[in-house]
Amino acid sequence: MSNLPPQRHRFDVAALQLKQYPYGEGDQILLLLTREHGLLRAIAKGTRKPRSKLAGLLAPLRCNQLTLVCGRNLHRVEQASSLQSFSSLQNDYDALMAGLVMGEVTAAFCQEEDPQPALFDAFCLGLLQLQSGFAPRALLLWFLLYLLENQGFYQDWRYCAGCERQLQAKDRVFLLGSAGVLLCQPCKPGAEGARYLYPEQLLALQQLQQAPEPLPLDLDERRCNGLLWFLQQHLEQLSGKSLKSFAFLYPLPEAGSASPVATPVKQGVNTP
């Protein structure tokens, strides 16, 4: 049921580059997100060689208009022009990391030849917002919840998953990362790994639920990280993949701190 044109035909597509890896002696394989075809893999010839005309454009988190030539296994990039380079992300560590997490999670959840118009637009909107200075962690929380709903993993965070009682701000609520659900205090015993959820975190989850665009959140960095860590567990459980880029979101050490280099520690995660 391919909606791709037959072999050796050319087609134009707007594509967000999620990742690339080296191939052969000077080529790269690109992993792309498109509206019409979902994930696409394409080979870019010679882009690891100096003087490649395309190398400057074909980088992660860039949106390009590509002319692709259909192949039996892989498409080949014939031409590229920039639609959005999101180039100011390269000046902001947190924004860049948020974008890379968006890319890795999208690659883990989407399929080839499964159109993703809404997710493609949400991804572009997210990068635009990051570029204009939107708080990276709040934006990422929005995107991850959007992706979960968009990919059919809707969870109603107004209710306890155990007793289906409506959760109130005054309740003690717990997150169960592996299942991606919330539990009230009476339902918590027996749920191994459940962690306390601060009231402002519960509020943020509920506000972001089904939000069509990012919302500013009244959460500090630690509380944001707690929710991101929870979502990481949930997304890894659902996709069966280890999502490596999340580790780069947690606090950065500065010179003089106790352990300056041991970055990817899961600090900021909710302590009971």
Partner: protein, 204 residues
Amino acid sequence: MSYLTPPLGRLVGAFQKLPGIGPKNAQRLAFHIVRQPRQVAEDLAEALLNAKDTIRFCSICSNLSASDPCEICQHSERDQGLICVVADARDVLALERTHEYRGTYHVLQGLISPMDGIGPEQLKVRELLQRLQQMQTDGVALREVIFALSPTVEGDATTLYLTRMLRSLDIPMSRIAFGLPMGGDLEYADEVTLARALEGRRSI
């Protein structure tokens, strides 16, 4: 599948394990070696083992060297207060070819790559920090740390990470300019490169 006599097959296999060498190039190299006089093969084998046995990381800059400290760190005319941070020992060679730079280096031995899970702890980041802190303790005037890392997502991530980590040391930091290749034609430059060249413009 073509037939190769076992010793030749083993040689082809060994070449093929090298980066950037595909099956065809591996065969070409293997056939070349066996057609040469025995001395050529001996020299090659000896050079390989000698390099492997003698080359180490410099304890100051993490560059590859047979001596420790390396030739550059030992050189009395090198400006010790100027440190250029690069990803790889080959970048040191490239910068040395310019004959413009008279400071020292720090070789990270790679770049941070979030999607591949390569973090600072797998690179010579701790060594850089300890080196700078030690220099400050010893009262060496640190004039500048220059980041000469490639303009890729990995290069950007590494530069951003290091500048944030080193911020509190209060050392001037800079990043090399990116833009058009010398002798290149403006109209053939891609949009992103050109935008970066514009961003990095300087007053004249």
